[in-house]
Symmetry: C2
Subunit: 531 residues, 2 copies
């Protein structure tokens, strides 16, 4: 299974852009010219030599260093495709056990080298990108530590090596009748350790819980030695130190192993699509479902713009036409908002939840509960990242950003986020649309996708992205949203962190980093600038 | 509403011990001689003079200093009743707003005085007891900061001053149709700030969530200035600093205000009692209910010893005799285990949950679902602390301890906890019994009550308690339980904290304390000894 070196996933899973999608995009954004793609050899040839000597602990060949140099943000893509990855690690290590991890920490401490923990390399905010500087950098890929070490079916706990990727984790659990239920869009490549270090949330976190709820204990290898967390269902004995590890983004050390709360595979798991006459109606229905303790496994509401874009891309014309006629017949108007939702559990639980959700939806004039479109969502739940390459090949660049906010702020925030993007785009044609997902009683996340044509060259494309990203991030924090609900901080979001973590909070976090990593060798520049 | 100065609650709510209960205790423990009770005046007269000058910020009269000197642990009771409270604060402050809090922090910093935040004084592990030392101590009672400041019914958030007690908090919310749903046994006197600082858990936390889930944001006044937490439904932007405040036990600063997640009062709230032929059968049923996502609002399983003790105390003889005949008729044997459980929500949700719980219980030979005994539990849910005084008056001392552990450890832990107590008691007659409650998919809490006759004098009684407490705590941590599921660490549990917080974890927590409180004036000696 060979990963594409300069994009997402495996080569054989890449799909051409459907003709209809290309047609729609050309109408909306004008035609575009794809940027060229450099080869891996070209990119490797442009790297400066490693500043580290040969050593059995790591690899220093240029191709490996290029492959692990960057993540999956749009700037990362531009850098990979241009064959100019910028700052690359001096070495890449592939430890196979905790001893080798400890050796790496000792080596790095002795040589004052920086360590960057690397899970699946799926970060979209620069978590694993080395910063320029005088210190040598070793990227530590955890991919060879991927085993299920034990499963306690009484307490429903599974102990994994932290480098295990989503599909391998689920396969090892599923074989025993269990699941973790953590399905972020990056599922196919992201890892357990990465989920924990970046406070990840899965598409069905409403049912299975965010990674904060799933992570019960583990071992973090810090420059001061290994730190072990205890395993309890709950405790009142002081601050919960799991929560310091969650979201630490490699700044404390490297997570070698983690215990997670698992559960038996659900008897049934169903997905449906319902339509509302407006965003506002759908929003009210979803809030009520969440606040009334009706147990959905997921809820997602596409704004009318996203709805029509997705339907245009998903359905061939005659089918789409029939659906649009049905919308009008059902009083949904021309621009309904699409709600995708799921229910999981025993047969009886699924029936009861489905009935309760449909009843509330009906009160807000929600219509239909199409299992076909629900199944379509399930089948394609991890395919969006592949679409980036299909769009790339036609000269279109795509990026996303997300936040979470309290319900009272959600309607205005959605408007402001899109308006800020469009203002920042200026004359550059821009398509953008939003959905809400990851629903809580207190609020929900908002997730915005935007597409624009590649500019004249890589640099101009990057400059346009920077303008858009800054505008979007500012709109998010000024509108009362968190700078990230599920992607983390990395380097791209750290300038905005002070909006939610005040100076004393940052000082407290920094005090912990300083205690565990006095040399400052653990992934510096990520999450927070040194105070 | 005058609080009893040397015991629990209000004088007019004290109840005499039922004759039958006295008879049962005399059978089990022999007769006992009550210890004398000193008056408040006597206790006050024995205090050394305050080391602080008169000041408008606080009170220094001896009676006030006695009242706020200790909490509600058994050693605290012995000290109060003996009229020898030991180390008392030099002053007690009653700030009315954030400005006055800041003035107190400035005053304490300038005079190197210790500050002890005081909620309802309900700690049973010494959180608010001053340590002996050279520094003057100011206890800061938050009781005058008790208002609801705002309620957002869209995002279901309520912003309170942190000194609000349980009944006042619920009354202010209930008047608007809302509830927090946090009902610890100390509910009548404990405060929102205390719940947060000690990581409290309510009797219906299964439905409403532990305080960790309910606390969404707030303001902590540290010696370095006020720290503000943001309000989001969820965030992946770095470590969640709420979790550093939760369980900080006054070591970071004083929580002045807190935002909590509230919800509409449930349409229905029902409680039932079901009986199982054995502890083991009840345990298996409860684990299955929790792990199958059946939504109970609470589940509690009394071990047969606790069951028979409670029934003897609750029911007059003819009624008890009829119930015991019914047990035999239903195949429950002579010593069934009593499960108390609740369901909350809409009428339909309550019906569905009740049906699902009864179906699982039946598969483990659980019989009956008595609403009368459920209502009895509800009516008496906060009465156990009053029973201490009734027992005291007959010469019996009572204490409790609790833990939480993963399901695989629960059966052995329950046996070991009780065995350790009995071994430590030696020749002292001892009655002890256990229930499980606060159920999670991963495990549950265990809560043990023990009663023994007062010894010849206060000192001998304290010495016996110390022996029992040490034995119980050791059994808890050696059996894989947390040193506390819901009472916190305070001073009594801090010698055992290292079993679950390893040296690096404690070092990280200490680094935060040092950053916010470099002088070490915030409640020192609580939670952790300085490293």
């Amino acid at each position: 299974m060979e990963k594409v070196w300069n994009g997402w996933g495996e080569a054989h899973k890449q799909k051409p852009l459907p003709a209809i999608a290309h047609q729609v995009l050309t109408q909306l954004l004008g035609s575009a010219t794809p940027l060229p793609e450099a080869s891996l050899e070209q990119a490797a040839s442009r790297l400066p030599p490693s500043r580290l000597p040969e050593h059995e602990l790591y690899h220093i060949d240029a191709e490996t260093r290029v492959r692990y140099a960057r993540g999956q943000s749009l700037p990362d893509w531009l850098a990979f495709k241009a064959g100019e990855v910028g700052v690359a690690p001096d070495a890449v290590a592939f430890p196979q056990n905790r001893d080798q991890l400890e050796q790496l920490l000792a080596f790095a401490g002795k040589h004052n080298a920086i360590l960057i923990p690397y899970g699946g390399g799926t970060s979209v905010v620069g978590h694993i990108n080395p910063c320029a500087g005088d210190q040598a950098v070793i990227t530590v890929s955890m991919e060879r530590m991927n085993r299920l070490l034990s499963l306690d079916t009484t307490s429903q706990l599974a102990w994994f090596e932290a480098g295990v990727r989503g599909p391998d984790l689920e396969a090892q659990l599923n074989a025993r009748g269990y699941t973790l239920g953590h399905f972020p869009q990056s599922f196919e490549w992201s890892t357990l350790g990465g989920w924990i270090a970046s406070r990840s949330s899965g598409q069905q976190s409403l049912h299975y819980g965010r990674i904060e709820q799933l992570f019960s204990s583990g071992v973090v290898h810090t420059p001061q030695g290994p730190l072990s967390l205890p395993s309890f269902p709950a405790s009142s004995a002081g601050p919960d130190w799991r929560e310091m590890v969650l979201g630490s983004e490699g700044r404390l050390g490297i997570l070698s192993e983690a215990e997670v709360r698992v559960q038996p595979l659900p008897e049934q798991e169903r997905f449906y699509v319902t339509f509302f006459p407006s965003w506002r109606a759908g929003l009210a229905a979803i809030r009520e479902i969440a606040q009334r303790n009706v147990s959905a496994s997921m809820m997602r509401l596409s704004h009318p713009t996203e709805t029509s874009t997705h339907l245009q891309l998903a359905l061939p014309q005659p089918k789409l036409g029939r659906l649009q006629r049905l919308f009008r017949l059902l009083g949904l108007g021309d621009e309904p908002a699409m709600m995708t939702w799921g229910v999981s559990g025993s047969g009886r639980q699924v029936r009861q939840s489905r009935r309760a959700i449909k009843a509330i939806a009906r009160r807000y004039r929600g219509r239909l509960a199409l299992k076909g479109l629900g199944d379509h969502w399930r089948k394609n739940r991890y395919s969006a990242p592949y679409l980036r390459q299909s769009l790339w090949q036609h000269g279109y660049l795509v990026d996303t950003f997300e936040t979470a906010a309290n319900w009272d702020k959600v309607p205005a925030l959605q408007v402001q986020m899109e308006a800020a993007l469009k203002r920042a785009a200026g004359d550059t044609p821009l398509l953008c649309y939003t959905h809400l997902s990851h629903v809580y009683k207190q609020g929900c996340s908002l997730y915005t996708t935007y597409v624009f044509p590649a500019q004249a060259d890589f640099q101009a494309s990057l400059a346009t992205w920077q303008k858009l990203k800054a505008a979007a991030s500012t709109a998010v924090v000024e509108g009362g949203g968190t700078i990230s609900h599920q992607h983390g901080v990395g380097k791209d979001h750290s300038p905005y962190l002070h909006h939610e973590k005040d100076p004393l909070t940052q000082a407290g976090i920094q005090a912990v980093f300083d205690r565990y990593d006095p040399q400052g060798i653990m992934n510096p520049g990520t999450l927070m600038e040194r105070l």
